[in-house]
């Protein structure tokens, strides 16, 4: 009796790698902490921006694989910066993760509803943060 060969398993979808992260936060201490965490521990290439304007200029110059975006910034805040990224050529689809000191469930749900991959609340663990960011990125593409 002829046996039907078992088809080979379909290889997992090759995900684009997460290599470059643009960190946007008006607080220099947070930018320093995130660079230390994501670059030295996580191995990512990290660009920094201290405002929405700097973020848009940097993202336009060198579109990152992901943006880690503070919510509460003077002038143009995080949600408005996300909206501006979505309208700008080259950054319409860049994944964004919000970073906030707010912790209320309603606020976190609101931020996610704006189209972000997720929200990281401050304080965050410097050592564990890179894996959390990888997981959010992978989940969004899965």
């Amino acid at each position: 009796m002829k046996t039907v060969p078992t088809p080979a398993p379909v290889p997992p979808l090759l995900l684009p790698p997460l290599r470059t992260i643009l960190v946007v936060d008006d607080d220099a201490d947070i930018r320093r902490a995130l660079r230390l965490s994501l670059e030295r521990i996580g191995g990512f290439c990290v660009a920094l921006a201290g405002s929405a304007e700097e973020a848009l200029a940097e993202a336009s110059r060198a579109p990152p694989d992901l943006v880690l975006l503070d919510v509460s910034m003077p002038g143009t805040d995080g949600p408005a910066t996300l909206a501006a990224l979505r309208k700008a050529a080259g950054t319409e689809r860049v994944p964004v993760v919000f970073c906030t000191a707010a912790s209320g469930g309603q606020e976190l749900a609101r931020l996610c509803s704006l189209g972000a991959l997720g929200v990281i609340t401050k304080p965050f663990d410097l050592v564990g943060l890179p894996d959390r960011v990888r997981a959010m990125f992978a989940k969004a593409l899965g």
Binding site: D26, D27, I30, G43, S72, A101, K122, P123
Partner: protein, 109 residues
Amino acid sequence: MTEAGDPAIKALIDAARADFARSLGVRARALEALATSGAWTDARREAHKLRGSAGVYGFAELGVAAAALDDSIGEAADNAAVAPSALALIGERLKELIAEAERVSRGAR
């Protein structure tokens, strides 16, 4: 990529933590000056920043004190005029934050 247990990473984290701690005395006094002068928006922004950064650098109690001050200024600012009772609460929370910031800052020297 560097392993999190790497002594070099620990040294970097410790150095960043020490730098942050050393800056706290000055920052707390600056925040006090803002609150005293009635610059509530700026005072709240500074308290909000500390709320986030203090915990990141491992100073949880300072983060709690900053969160309490951030919230009390926020609640007071919702009203057109800051009520005396709200001012008193802000004053208390500011003192707690300054005391904690100075304690941490002294420990870093």
